[in-house]
Each structure stands twice: as C-alpha cells, then as structure tokens.
C-alpha cells in the first residue's frame, strides 16, 4: 500500500517526481473518452521505467495462444486490445540537449488529474546537463465531444537562458506490447506522410487487419501570437512520421506548442477514406482551437457528473476515491457503440488484454443502469446478443448441441480466448450472467420489450446449455452438475457448486418468464423466434420444469447453510484469523493445491448467489450463510468485497461493511495490491459504486419501484448519490440525521424509503 498522492475532492495530485511511482501514476492518471484512451506517459522522451500505452477501442490482435499442455477444446488465440500508435509524442531538445526527466534534475514536479474537467496536467522545472533550466507545463485531454480527437498544450519557458528549442512532433506506429506471447510486433505500415504542419500514419494490425490512422497537427504560439519557426524538417521512417521544428526561446517567456491528435479506426470509417477523414478531423480541431475544444469537453463532463456524482463529506480520501472510480468508469465506456465493451483495465494498461469478462454483466452493468441513459446499459446487452451465434458455436465445439449457447469466459468478438481448462470449460456460471444482467436491465427500466427484440433468443440458447450441462444422478435422484468452477476460483472442477446450480435453475425460470411475455405481447415475433431457434416449446420447457423441480442444491441442514459444493464439509474449516501474516495473500504464498484443498475463499460464491437473488431468501438464511462464509473469505479478487459490503449493510454489520468498503474504494489510488502499474481495476470500480449505492444506500428495485434503506458510516458526516431512474434524476442525501431523496428532474415518482412509500415531486 502506497500513499504518495495528495488528497483532494476533485483532483488526483502527485507532487515531486519519484521514478519508482511513475508506472503507477501512468495508470492512475490515464485519460480516455470511450473511443480511445491514453496512459499518463510523458509527451517528451523518458528513458526511465515506463509502460507506454495508447488504446483504440475495438482494435485488437489475436495473439497466438501459449499453453504448457494443450487440452482439447482450447482456443487458438488470445485476443488483446493493442498498444496503439502514439499520438502524444514530442521529442524535445533545448540547445541540442535532449529533455529526458530520467536524466536531469527535476524540481517542482506536479502531476494533476482533474476529474471534474477530465484534464491531465503536469508541470516541472528541469535542469539540463549544462545548467540551463527549463520550465514546462503540459496538459492534455481526450475529447469527450469528439471521440477521435486528443489535444495537448505543451508550454516551455526557459528560466535562466535564451536559446534554440528543437521539437519533433510525431506520430509513431512502431510500438510494442509488453504483453506479447511470442515477442511479435503487431502493427504494419499501410501509409505515412509528413507535410509541413502535419504528419499521418496508417497502420494495420496483423491478422485482424484493422486500420488505424493516427495524425497530428500543431500550432506554436507565444503570448497568443504565432511563433516564427527557423525551420521545419519532415521526417519519416518505417511506421513513423514527424515534423522537426526549431524556434527561439527567450528567457522567462513562455512558448506554447498545441499538438492536436486524431485517431481514427476502420471500425468507424472505410479504409480508403481514413486518411482524408483524419485530415478533416485535424483541420476542424485546429480551426476550433485548444480552448474551445476543451470547453466542449468540460461541458460533457459537467453533464456526466450531474448524472452520477457521489459526494462524501467528512472524509476527503473517501470522496476522492469514489470520484476516481466514477471518473474512470465513465471515460472507459460511454455506451454509444454496441460493439464495444469494458476491459478489466479499461484504457489504463495491457493486462487481461482489454477483453470482455463477466465483470461487465455482474459488476459494471448496475453502475451504467443507474448513472446513464438506458441505451448505455442496453448496448452492453446488445453486445452479447450479437455474439449469440458465436456462443452457440462455442457450445458446439465443446460437445453441446441443438442451439445451446455457451458464452466465452474471455472474448473480443464472441469467440473464446481463455485457456485454463478449469476456467474456460468449467467456469460455466458466466453464461448466465447474460440472463441476470437482462433481468437487471428489464426490471430497472421496465423495458420488457427487450425480451421480444433480443432477449428471448439469448435466454433460449443459455437454457438449452444448462439443460444439457446437468445430468440425472440415479444415486441422488436429482439433477446434478458435475465438473464446474464457481466464481470462487479457489475451487476447481467441483461437483454441484451451489451458486452454479442455483443460477442454472433460475435461468430456466427466467426464460419461461420471457417466453410468457413475448407470447402474450408479440405472438408473431414469438413464432419467428421459435422458427429461427427451432424451439420445441412443449418438450424443451417440460425438460426445464423437470430440472427446476429436481435440481440438487448442496446444503448442511445442521448449520442451516448452503454448501459451496459437494464435499465442502470434508475440509478443515478454519477462518481467516487462523492465517498468519506469512500466509497472506495465499495466492502468492501457498501452492495451488494447498489453496484448493483449503476452505479459504477468493470470492464467496454462495454469497454472490444470495446477493443476486436476495429476495428468494429470508434474512436468517442470509445471516447464517454470511456468518459462515465471510470469515473464510480472503477477498483475493478485487471483485469480492463489494458483495460483502452490500450483504453486511443489509444485515446491519455496519462496521464490517465500512471496513470492506475501504478495501475497494482506494484500491488503485493507494496501490493496495501492488499491481496498479499494470493498469487500474476498472471493472471492480463499479463494485465500489455498488458498495456505496446498494450497500450503504440500500438501493434496490422491486416491482418497478426504487427502495432505499440508507445508513451512514460513523466516519462520515454526510454523503449523497445521484441516480437516473426511468427518466428521472434522483439525489439521495444521507446524513447523521437521516436520509432524504430529491427528485432533480423528471416526473413525480413513488419510492420506498426504509420500507415506507414516499412520493417525490
């Protein structure tokens, strides 16, 4: 755990330059706009430790899989969103000396991420080898208004001299991924051009042949007036184009270089029109100018904050933490493009390849449901609808049939990318994440018509999977599910994981609800779906009913708890308190078999199930299970604590809820797990949001109505959160004195506050 960042309500602030923290800061200070994203690398060269990262949404490479021992059914490739061409780069030389913060004295260094404005800025004074001091102020943003535009203001002031500055303003597609299985480069050049005032490179990804055109233009000013350039040299080499410019610096006088970047991909343009489109985007940006571009951008951020801000009074660290999470989520996914999804690290790093996991449905969807217009969450569902044919192929490849759909554990285009058998083939619960995400969406927005348009086809496919994945046990006289891994990945290849069995049975029921809805509301469309999916309603539903009625759920009657899986009680039942410091985290200290044999839980799947289907269980059952499993849970997944916060809040374990919350809220800011340098835990940030809103705030939707049962942690004086709900914006204020809910916009609404109906106007 590190605490080198200053606390501030709206800003993340790093003061003083410590190269050891640079890669961590590069992650934390990342900026993006849903279309593209950029780690907080320096514009100028830096020869110290750095992880350069520019990312373009949807542009990926199918890197050849690396496995130790091949298992039948493994995918051939692992898709990864790539480190994309660099648009921010400026080589800076002052009087022939290269500016490189790893090689000169650095003073007054500050790096600030202003979350309200979506702006990254940095300032420092560098002393070069010959004693010349130069002051730099650099700021940049990825425009929320123009998804293909980034802009940089790079201001240089010589402190103790006058002389020549030489800047190479470039775009560079000769970039590498740190995460490459066979040390390949993934980009090849298609086009490059350096003209006076601009440079453009089009590169394509190998194999997938995405084209990305990266361009830049620039303006040099001093005191608001154009600066005369001594010379402009055009430079190109393989995958690289630049303007090298030289101009005079005058002691004490600021010269400002505005660099406008454009990043366009063939996902949004025809390949042969990319260059002309790029030129236009650049020209428009230059014509608009930095200040106006920034103003457009800030306006959108202001609107976003109005939709989703959370305030916490009495605890600046908590305030900063929650806003950081909201900021990162919001700039990672804007919901405008149904082909996109949310990588575990967003645009902040390469790890996990930027691909889609069930994190999206289980953790991110609730955030976007409550903080953005309905189409944002809907697009996340449509993304999976479009992958349905691939999910059916995937199931077929593994031996399932008749239209069974098995969604991949990790994917970019709908095809499976993961290759650990115990996860790829066995962590089957993820396929039903598509179902409960649909339930959440439909129930939150009252949009059951989604079943008709898209949902039912998906549900039929998933239900078919479950009906084939279970088998009848003559021994138990029940349906059983063998060989699975639950969300608690510290158990592999178990039989009858309670969570998975419950989810399977629930999915079958939920599918029946969707069938009933579609039949009743659009008989023609139902017939169409029956025909398209070759659905034999009577036989298939009869089988589903049989499974629903006869599914086996492992339980311990004497303790009154559900069992994670068959045989769980054969373990030595310890608690986390029995572990020494030397044992933690067990995923670093213990061999894998020891972890598997132990009772310790990475992420409690029984509790995950209770959280998802809370209203199916009485409070005593919830309490017994929580009291049994919580003490065994080591929370070695960043996705674990939020579920415990929410259940602990419900059970009145306020102290525990708050302690758990702290583990998630500043996970990256304080580099809790020593891994922020790889990127931020974007998807788990949505869990932090849920912890506060569903945990402390007690927000639920039941039968179309919002419910709240708020409490306030004793460390805080008050907090508030804003949510969107069916055309309204609500603000919930919670203080020691109690909670009040304000309808900020939209029609009157009845909500249930602490069990009592209240009408908001």
């Amino acid at each position: 755990m590190k605490e080198y960042l200053k606390k501030h309500e709206w800003q993340i602030i790093e003061e003083g330059f410590d190269p050891h923290y640079n890669k961590i800061s590069e992650s934390i200070f990342s900026i993006g706009n849903g279309r593209m994203g950029q780690r907080a690398n320096f514009e100028e060269d830096y020869s110290g430790e750095t992880l350069r990262g520019s990312y373009v949404a949807g542009v990926y490479y199918p890197d050849k899989t690396r496995v130790g021992w091949w298992k039948n059914g493994y995918p051939e490739y692992f898709a990864k969103v790539l480190n994309a061409p660099n648009w921010i780069g400026i080589h800076v030389s002052i009087e022939g000396q290269k500016l490189d913060l790893a090689k000169c004295k650095v003073e007054n260094f500050t790096r600030v991420l202003d979350m309200k404005l979506g702006l990254l800025s940095r300032r420092f004074v560098a002393t070069l080898a010959d004693g010349k001091k130069v002051s730099v102020e650099a700021s940049r943003f990825c425009s929320m208004a123009r998804g293909e535009v980034g802009a940089i203001r790079y201001a240089i002031t010589p402190v103790n001299f006058s002389g020549k500055a030489t800047l190479s303003l470039y775009v560079d597609a000769d970039v590498v991924n740190t995460d490459s299985n066979y040390d390949e480069k993934f980009w090849e050049e298609i086009y490059k051009d350096a003209s006076e005032g601009s440079a453009i490179v089009t590169a394509q990804t190998k194999k997938t042949h995405f084209h990305v055109t990266t361009g830049m233009r620039y303006v040099v000013e001093s005191e608001g007036k154009p600066v005369k350039l001594d010379r402009i040299n055009l430079e190109t080499r393989e995958k690289f184009a630049a303007n090298v410019i030289q101009f005079d610096l005058t002691e004490g006088k600021e010269t400002v270089v505005y660099k406008y970047g454009a990043v366009l991909s063939s996902e949004n343009h025809e390949k042969d029109k990319l260059v002309s489109a790029c030129v236009k985007v650049l020209n428009d940006a230059v014509a608009t100018g930095f200040d106006k571009l920034f103003a457009e951008h800030v306006k959108i951020w202001a609107h976003k904050w109005e939709e989703c801000d959370i305030t916490i009074n009495g605890d600046v660290a908590a305030q900063q933490g929650i806003r950081f999470n909201i900021f990162q989520l919001t700039q990672t996914y804007t919901g405008e493009d149904e082909r996109l999804n949310i990588g575990p690290k967003g645009f902040t790093g390469e790890k996990y390849g930027g691909v889609t996991y069930w994190d999206t449905e289980a953790y991110c969807l609730p955030f976007f449901l409550s903080t953005a217009e309905p189409k944002v969450a809907r697009n996340l569902l449509v993304y999976r609808y479009k992958h349905l044919p691939k999910a059916i192929d995937n199931a077929k490849k593994l031996g399932f049939k008749d239209g069974a759909a098995f969604y991949p554990f990790v994917t970019m285009n709908g095809e499976e990318c993961h290759n650990e058998w115990e996860i790829t083939f066995e962590e089957v619960h993820r396929t039903s994440a598509m179902a409960y995400a649909m339930r959440d969406y439909v129930d939150y927005n009252g949009d059951e018509a989604y079943f008709t348009e898209f949902g039912l086809e998906v549900l039929i496919g998933i239900s078919r999977f479950w009906s084939q994945r279970v088998n009848w046990s003559k021994d138990k006289n029940k349906y059983v599910m063998l060989g699975v891994t639950g969300p608690n990945e510290y158990e592999n290849n178990v039989n009858n994981n309670w969570y998975t069995n419950y989810l399977a049975a629930w999915t079958l029921k939920f599918t029946k609800r969707a069938i009933d809805y579609v039949k009743k509301n659009d008989a023609k469309r139902f017939t169409e779906i029956v025909s398209k999916t070759n659905f034999n309603e009577s036989d298939e539903v009869a089988k589903w009913n049989d499974i629903i009625d006869n599914m086996y759920f492992p339980a311990d009657a004497s303790r009154g708890v559900f069992l994670q899986q068959d045989g769980f009680l054969d373990k030595e039942l310890l608690t986390v308190n029995d572990l020494t410091k030397a044992d933690r985290p067990i995923n670093q200290k213990w061999s894998w078999d020891r972890i598997l044999r132990s009772c310790f839980i990475k992420q409690a799947d029984v509790l995950q199930g209770i959280f998802l289907f809370e209203d199916d269980f009485d409070i005593d059952t919830i309490k017994r299970n929580f009291d049994f499993y919580e003490p065994m849970t080591v929370h070695e997944s960043s996705l674990s604590p939020c579920v415990h916060v929410i259940l602990a809040s419900k059970l009145g374990y306020e102290k525990l809820a708050y302690e758990m919350y702290l583990r998630t809220a500043r996970l990256d800011l304080d580099d809790y797990n020593n891994d922020t340098e790889d990127g931020c835990h974007i998807t788990s940030m949505a869990g932090t949001w849920m912890s506060l809103v569903k945990g402390f705030g007690g927000m639920r939707v039941r039968e179309g109505k919002l419910h709240f049962t708020p409490f306030i942690p004793s460390q805080w004086t008050s907090y508030s959160f804003r949510i969107e709900f069916r055309g309204r914006v609500l603000k919930v204020n919670v203080s020691k004195a109690g909670a009040e809910t304000v309808l900020e916009s939209g029609e009157a609404l009845e909500i249930i506050m602490n069990g009592k109906a209240v009408v908001l106007k």
Copy 2:
C-alpha cells in the same frame, strides 16, 4: 495402424523405401547400450522427413518452462535429455553428386534390426541423377561391451561405373531439439579438432554445463586391404569437425569405410580429461577392429537373451512383438549406473524429455527384477534414494514440513519438472510408487537389508507426506484426502480417490514393517536413521496407526465395488460400447471437460490398486470391480491394458486377456496410436512383458516363493519365458498340454505351480 514391417522371429525388417514411414522406422530400428542411443537415421544426408536423434544418458538441459497461466509452486524448468552431437554422420558424394535418398531412385532397400545381435543394417541401390548406380550396405551397433563406443560399417559398391567417391566423416554438435520451448540451441562449443584420421568436438550444454566429447576415427578398406586416399581435407566450423576424404571406386568392387564413434560425457570423466580419454577409446576401438568389437557385443546380447528371452510358437507376429519389447527395454537400461533411469521413449525420441516418471517403479521394475541380476533393480531404487533430499525440498515448497517427502511426477535430478497443477501437485499417488517398488524388490529378492541401508529413510519421508496430506473430516468422522488426481488422469482434483487413499494407508503399514525389521536387525543403524530424520517414532507411528484405522474408502455397498472417488455415482454410467467410432479416442474427439464429467476411464485406478495389492482382496471382490470398471475403460494410456490382462487372466477371462495383450505387444511395430514416429513406448513395453509373465504365466511371489498359474491363448501352440530368481534361472514352458518349469541354473528351488508345491532341481 500400419503393417509395413515383415514378420520374423528375431528381426524387424523393412523392405522397400517409403519416405512416409521413415520417421516411424527411425524410432523402431533405434539402437542403444544403456549409455547412449541412436535413432535409425541414415549415415548419409537425407533431405526428406527425418527426426535426427542421438542421446547420451544423463545429459540434459533445463528448458525454460512454458505455461499459459502460472500457478504457484510450478517449477521453472522442464529437464530434457537432449539430442546430442551426431557421431554417425557421413556426407557421401559420388563423382560430385550428393547421395541423398530423398533425391534419387532407390531400389532393393532393406532395413533390418537384428535383435539377437543388436545390429542395425541397411542396404539399397541408388541411381544418381546422371544414371550412375551405387549399392550401399551400412550396418552399425552401439557396443554393449564398451558403453562409449559405436561402430559403423559403410560399404559402397559402384554398380555401373568407376569413379571418385568423396566422403566427409564428421562429428557435429550443431544439432537442435525439435522439442524446444523457445527454439533455442542447447549446445555450445568447448573444443574441436580435426586431424588426419580423426575428428573430435567437445560441446557443453547451456546452464547444466555437461560436457560431451564426441569423436570419430575411420579406416577405409577394400578386399581387406587399406585403400589409398587421394586426399584428406580437414574441415572445422562452429561445433563441427570432419575429415573429407577422396578415393577411387571401381565398378563392381566394394569399398568399406569403418567409422568408429566415441561418445564420452563429463558424468563419467573429468572435464579436462575428456579429450584424451576420447582419443584412447577411439584408438582402442580402431585397434580392436569392427569384427572383434561386434563379437564382444554379440556375446553380451547372447547372455542377455539367455536371461530374459520369451518364445512364442505358432504366432510369428507375437514372437516378434515380445522380443522387440524385451530388446528395447534391455538396450535402454542396463542397470550399471544408479544415476540413470528410464525415459518413456528411452533413446528412441525426444518426447517426454527422456525424464523419469512413475512408469519406472510401476511398470519397468518388475521386468528388471525378473530378467537381470538383483543390482539392476536395486539401482533403480537407489536412484530414488539419492533424490530423497530433493523430494523433501519439493514437499516443503508446497507447504509440507518436518521431512515429508513428495517425489516429483517428472524429474531428471530429483527436482520437479512438470507443470500441470492437476498432475504436478495432485497426482500424489506417485510418491508411493517408491514404496511398492521397494516391496516388490525386497519380496522378490528376499533382500530386506535394503530397508536398513536405504529404504527406511525413504519410507519415513513418504509416510510423513501422507500423514500431512490427509485431513480429518468431522463430517465423515474419517481421514480424507482432498484434491487429488489418480492414475486415471481423466478425473482431476477429486476427493478420496480410492486408489490413492488405499496406497497411502498401505504405505504407512509398510513403513511400520520396515521399522520393525531395521529395529530388530540393526538397532544401531535405526538409531542413526532416527537421528538423521529426526524421527519421533512413538508420536508419528501413533498418528499413522490412527490414519490406518480411520481412513475413508469410497465404496458402493449395493454393487459391492470400490468407488474411484467421491461422487462417482453421480455420473451417467455408460460403457465403451455406448461410444460411437466418431467419439474415439475421446482424448482427441471430446473437450477436456466432457472427458472429466464422463465415466470413461483412461487407466482404471481401482483395478491398478487391486493389481498391486491383489492378496488383500477375495476373488469375488476382484471380479465385481473388474466387471464394473473394465467396460468403462478406454485404455487411452499405453500403460493401461497390461493391468487388465493380468486381472482378466486371474479371473479366467482368457479371451479378453488375449485381446488386451494384442493391444500392447505390437503397439510400436504396428504404430497402433499413430505416434511411433515420436519414439517407442519404452516404459509400456515392460507392461507387455508383465502381461505375458504375470498375466498368461500367472507368476507371483508370495512369502518368498514363486507361484505360477499359466494358461495358453488358443492362438498359440506353446510359449516359454525365462526369469531370474534368487540366483537361479528358470524357464517356464507352457503348451496346450500343460506347463513345466525347468531350472536352468542355480540351486534347487521349491515353486508353487497351480497351487501345488514342486521342487525344481
């Protein structure tokens, strides 16, 4: 399945050259002498499909591990016996045209492995591009008498011309492994020299720094007289040294090149004396000459065949098959060096890295016990004794303590090399292979003193492992063993694998027997062992007794069978007859999860346990378990059928026993599994031997006495096998008329034939 080889009692014969079979033949026709081995590659260049392979026992490289997803506790490297410097190579040019069987017309091709003589020979007539025909006869052997010597007789006869032959006689350490995780070369040059008449290269393995010196000398003769050479050019390049010689060929006249190879390693010589030792070995070989070297070699083979031959009358294919298995086993391991062991492919290929598996103890040891002097099997045990400290380290690394010993699944020097968690960490039964191998050795030879010298230390370590690997289940009120993989690798991470639980409890009992023996027979040594191992006899044995008395064994009372593991009866219980042809082999046709969920068995572990501890079970129990599990067994391990042959023989299922036997006996000769090109299944060949001797012959040792209950498959007229037993050589002859046993050498012996005592004199 292929049947391109001619059947013959003592020879393997390939007639006609089909390049498609070349890699298969290279495996099958391999020769070795326990110290070194050589695939049946051509001496001259061959540009077609070939897997070049020369191997030096004990010389390995720790190739950097390749895994998809790292698990805590994985080893960093996978040791592999390397493709070693080439000593057989001769580039041949006839009148300036390179001889390459891939590029000329080949007639009268024959390749013969004479198993009686240990000789590989080959003849052919090649027509070169310009129509010149040349007849070649090449034969070679790896001397059984001189472990560092190989000799080649390469005879050239021009058929329709006279002209010049140019031969480059070389040694070459610039060789590669096909099996290399990161495409590295593993050898680097230390020394090279080409002098008139000889060439020597010393190369060392990277990282492990084994030195191997490979040298050659040669003699060229015609009609028994030296041939005058036109010229001798000396050639060296990186890791390569040669003599290029030219001489005249006369139409119809044979010129013979004798190439003598020497392969010496730093395992047997001081590094700085390798070259001089090599010179001496070569000089001695040249002085002895090919014919005398060959005579020495044949004499040893004759003696070996006297010890271990099996004859089968009435079935040449079966006769050839069993002799091939015996031949390969015998030339792979001679038992002279306790540092060596038996790789799954012996010296016939790279696959499985030439490293040691539990195959040695479970399958090979019984063969060497019965066919070689006692020290051979003993050295296999001592090999593991010497690895005991590493086995203790290995256990410690995985969280065990106090001297628990966990033998690796795959090893070269005692360190674990395998990295599939479900095997590396979970296929724990292999650690007790060291115990039952010890039992087999002690009981066969009556050498209980082995406990005192080596055995007890090993047994204490293993027993400590088991006592920590089990845990007490409050739920079952029994000791359980969680998270294991049995020999049936089509189940992973199961609880209470019957075989493993049985083996663990048996090991504890067996350790007590060893303790009693050592205490009684050598109290001083016992005290020494107690002190060395820090053995707390009373506490530890008390704990072991508790485990022995309270171990849980899964069983199905209604069927009267043991269960492979907990939950086995939840599966859909099918038989192999329910599978279609399209399903087989399931390890190629089904996804891994489907295999795991199914009831199908790769290698039946319950039956393996019954085979090992046969006398613990009554015949009805054996029958019920065999009848239950045999129909589910797909035998997709080459180690599987032999156990079924032995049990089927015992149960009187003679037809089934014979069918199973056929699957193993000619596995490589007929390339049954389409994988012989990778090398021969050396360790499973010992299973074939067991099938015949313990299966058909019914050989057992009980209380120091040999028992036999022979039957003869109806397809054979008679068969016989020879075994060594406590200083005697016995020959058992079985015909339709009955069985008789002849004492070929040694003192009188009482044996039990079909339940009746017979004294042999």
